[in-house]
């Protein structure tokens, strides 16, 4: 077992209406086999025992799939290890004596709720605007009636792997939600079942995205770099193409 000592600079903010500030906390004797969130648990347990309020942070599955966790660590969403959510980031990737700066996603469309927790319901509203195939329960044809080229199905699955964590928005200088939105557009529009509503889908989702106050894409590709599921920016190009076709007809 190897342990390290760290200093944490953590963003503390009481609620959406308060202003926040960084506070410094020691994190001593951290086992390097811990996950980042387990390290925060340990710090929180210590704060609680000192009679202080622990740091609020979102998390649930701790397996990198629910998309609940996330914070900017030393300037990088989910930290510096590629293709990794915060819950799957392990302390062996940090050095003894290091100072780690931890702050919430920053974007107008994701207001801070408390400490490291932000409000990502804008994503849900984008899905509600068109991120679905309207197949009412009971109306489906026999599954094997639809055959789908394997490589197409794989591309669709690549896009469908998005966990909706918001790291793409956090990484983007424009706080754009293009990667998130285009992943859903691609997942569904690539499938034959999704073609019927393809035009409305892309039009309505993009409209909602704009209304939520997300910025535009200026091809920085930082979103792809930050994405724990390595969703490709090719999806953005695909969405743009779908959008153009939809607005022409």
């Amino acid at each position: 077992m190897k342990t390290i000592n760290l200093t944490l600079q953590i963003w503390r903010q009481k609620d959406a209406n308060s202003t926040g500030q960084f506070e410094s906390y020691p994190a001593k004797d951290i086992d390097t086999a811990m996950s980042f969130l387990e390290m925060l648990d340990v710090v929180n347990e210590r704060l609680t025992k000192e009679g202080k309020e622990p740091v609020a942070f979102d998390h649930d599955c701790r397996e990198g799939i629910c998309g609940m966790c996330g914070a900017v660590v030393n300037g990088q969403p989910h930290g510096h290890i590629k293709a990794t959510t915060l819950c799957q980031l392990h302390m062996r990737h940090f050095n003894d004596g290091e100072t780690i700066v931890i702050e919430p996603w920053r974007s107008t469309a994701f207001p801070v709720t408390k400490d490291l927790i932000v409000d990502r319901t804008a994503f849900d509203r984008i899905i509600s605007a068109g991120g679905f195939i309207s197949a009412k329960t009971g109306s489906a044809p026999e599954a094997s009636a639809i055959s789908i080229q394997q490589d197409k199905a794989e591309l669709s699955m690549d896009a469908a792997s998005c966990i909706g964590c918001g790291a793409c928005v956090a990484s983007c200088p424009n706080a754009s939600a293009m990667l998130f939105t285009s992943a859903k557009v691609s997942h569904l529009n690539l499938l034959p079942q999704g073609r019927v509503e393809a035009k409305d889908r892309v039009t309505n989702m993009v409209k909602q995205m704009d209304e939520e106050g997300f910025g535009n894409c200026s091809n920085e590709y930082l979103c792809e770099d930050a994405c724990p599921k390595e969703i490709s920016v090719v999806n953005i190009a695909r969405m743009n193409k779908e959008f153009r076709t939809a607005s022409r007809s």
């Binding site: 609620d15 347990e45 599955c61 701790r62 927790i117 849900d124 509600s128 599954a143 699955m157």
Partner: protein
């Protein structure tokens, strides 16, 4: 005896006949009925979306910031259906039979048959929604095998099947939210169920951001709140999984059935430290290609690769030649424990066995293995810093799923009229052990294809129109919820919520885990109230009740686990037989396999709450097997 309302007639026709005779609500009247659905996992999201499509007004609740994040999202391996696409002889009957046998003959035949029957429709529905299941080069759907079956009937989307199925149900739900007929309440926790004159009428909620306590009334309440594995603290479940809603319903009169039926999954990453917050599952699908073994010699210090073939014991292949590494979970787990108890365990703690892919990589090549399990291998490496393509994985069993749950009849209604329970939260289909890839199937069966029919039968018999939330019962329940919060915040003791949760979990794991005996269970029954008393005297919950307070949220859930644990242990003590995941040391065959006692225990044990520190009252539901013959389960 409880009445399960199983329809009469031949097994194959029961569901069809039943549907033909269920009462209907006229389309124009549906919108006058309001239904509360708690939970947006596979069961809740599919139910809420379907009910809304039919025309009902739905309010749905979840604790996470988005409905898409329910624990179902983390299911990896797949979902079963009796499509028989691989042409290997599968059928509805076989899926039914495997599930009843897998459950060690402790489930209802009629429910399981219905489950197998609607399994095919689920796949149709999911494909239509755009769930990107794995496909063959031909473009048709691919299948893989899972434990407890000799056919390939599992549909999958890489190692992310739960995610894709849930995103399908979530998108259907969000479509209905957009249409305005579902109102979605995220970051909202149900703290109580309101029962008026014996009928479920609504819920008490806490807004997890503002702390506000509120009441919601409805014509029916549907709980789809998942399982209670986290009573063991360490489990493969998401951190927020809890028993609160089910336990509150139980305290208000709903019966809790077979709480001792818990499932321990054989292939999880072993525990490595005190700080550990959860255990990570390595999907059962890995046992398709991975071989489980330990060194033949006790305490063998050599590295895996230095142990020659003849000095390895592939104990599952040896003991169960026809199922080999694909025996059901309970057997695989218990066998791993037996090996470790004999001192043959491996890894730093000796509490692990190997899951080895060397042979499969040799046969199929690394690329094929990467395509099949790449994300699982990556996850393993990210957690343990070891490369499973080069060395075998270390695995050990962990708490994973709970077959027990609130008692429901064939219509999925609890003994309280108006309270329906779906998914992992009910007890209905898996008996004493669940087969892999069957929970996703059950959650979606309940939500898409059972409840939408059966709830109409209930609603057609009650007048529409919300109950007012200003009645005494709502007021009183709100007051109790507020008081509990104030009490928790005022204790200001020396231990954290997690300190208590860990202590409870460890006790449950040791005394009521993979194997159980009378003495240990009795010790647990003594210890649990002691921990509970200390909790209420010495827990430290910082912060206030008027804003987002995660310590407070956890404290409420742990308080309920501390009560629920006692019921679980009581049930384990009552059930003197071994069956499925419930293994009593006193009841085993000469070879150490679980030995059922059909004469005395072929029934569901449904418990009625009588007050804290009082013995719960037992109600039995006899299990009648008309089609299947009860046998000693054999996977030899």
């Amino acid at each position: 005896m409880l009445n399960s309302k199983i329809p009469s007639g031949p097994l194959k026709d029961k569901w069809a006949n039943h549907k033909d005779h269920l009462k209907l609500v006229n389309p124009a009247n549906k919108r006058k009925y309001n239904v509360i659905v708690v939970g947006t996992g596979l069961a809740g999201a599919s139910a809420a979306a379907s009910l809304s499509e039919m025309g009902y007004q739905v309010d749905t609740f979840c604790m996470q910031d988005s409905a898409r994040r329910a624990h179902s999202i983390s299911a990896q391996g797949g979902i079963n259906a009796a499509k028989n696409y691989p042409n290997d002889g599968d059928s509805i009957y076989r899926l039914f039979y495997d599930t009843v046998k897998g459950g060690d003959f402790r489930s209802r035949e009629a429910n399981v048959y219905r489950l197998a029957e609607v399994s095919n429709q689920i796949i149709d529905q999911c494909v239509a929604q755009g769930v990107p299941f794995a496909r063959e080069y031909s473009g048709y759907l691919d299948n893989r095998s899972f434990g407890g079956a000799q056919v390939s009937r599992t549909f999958y989307a890489r190692g992310q099947t739960g995610q894709q199925l849930l995103l399908g149900a979530y998108s259907a739900l969000m479509k209905e939210v957009g249409r305005g007929s579902v109102t979605l309440h995220t970051r909202t926790e149900i703290l109580d169920i309101v029962v008026i004159d014996g009928v479920a009428r609504g819920v008490i909620t806490r807004n997890l951001i503002s702390g506000e306590i509120a009441s919601f009334a409805a014509d029916a309440v549907v709980l789809a709140t998942g399982g209670y594995s986290n009573v063991f603290y360490l489990s493969t479940n998401a951190k927020a999984c809890n028993v609160t809603a089910a336990w509150r319903a139980h305290k208000r009169g709903a019966f809790f059935a077979n709480p001792c039926y818990t499932q321990i999954h054989p292939t999880c990453i072993p525990v490595h430290g005190e700080y550990q917050s959860k255990l990570t599952l390595m999907s059962e699908s890995l046992r398709n290609d991975g071989r489980v073994w330990v060194p033949k010699k006790e305490g063998d210090p050599r590295k895996a690769q230095d142990i020659p073939e003849e000095e390895r014991d592939y104990y599952l292949e040896r003991r169960y030649p026809s199922f080999g590494n694909l025996v059901p979970r309970d057997l695989a787990s218990r066998n791993a424990k037996m090996q470790c108890d004999e001192g043959k365990g491996v890894g730093p703690t000796g509490q692990a066995v190997y899951l080895d892919f060397e042979e499969a990589i040799g046969r199929l090549g690394e690329d094929v293995i990467r395509a099949r399990y790449g994300n699982l291998f990556d996850m393993y490496e990210s957690i343990t810093a070891e490369n499973p393509y080069k060395q075998p994985m270390l695995i050990f069993p962990a708490l994973h799923y709970t077959m027990g749950g609130l008692w429901v009849d064939y219509n999925l209604m609890s003994n309280l009229p108006g309270l329906f329970v779906l998914g992992e939260a009910n007890f209905s289909d898996h008996g004493a052990n669940r087969l892999g890839a069957s929970a996703l199937m059950q959650g979606l069966a309940d939500g898409y294809f059972v409840l939408p029919y059966t709830i109409g039968d209930y609603l057609a018999g009650v007048p529409s129109g919300r109950t007012a939330t200003d009645s005494d019962e709502f007021r009183q329940a709100e007051k109790e919820a507020e008081e509990k919060i104030e009490t928790l915040l005022a204790i200001k003791g020396n231990k954290t919520v997690d300190d208590f949760h860990r202590e409870l979990g460890k006790l449950c794991w040791e005394k009521c885990g993979m194997s159980r005996d009378e003495q240990g269970l009795k010790e647990a029954l003594q210890k649990i109230p002691e921990i509970r008393d200390e909790f209420w005297k010495n827990v430290n919950v910082p912060g206030s009740g008027r804003d987002l307070n995660q310590s407070l949220e956890r404290a409420g859930r742990v308080a309920d686990f501390l009560e629920f644990a006692e019921l679980m242990v009581n049930d384990a003590l009552y059930r003197k037989e071994s069956c499925g995941g419930h293994f009593r040391e006193e009841s085993k065959t000469e070879e150490g396999e679980a030995l059922r006692d059909d004469k005395n225990f072929t029934h569901v044990a449904a418990w009625e709450f009588q007050g804290l520190n009082k013995e719960p009252q037992l109600h039995k539901e006899a299990l009648e097997f008309e089609t299947v013959q009860l046998t000693q389960r054999s996977y030899k």
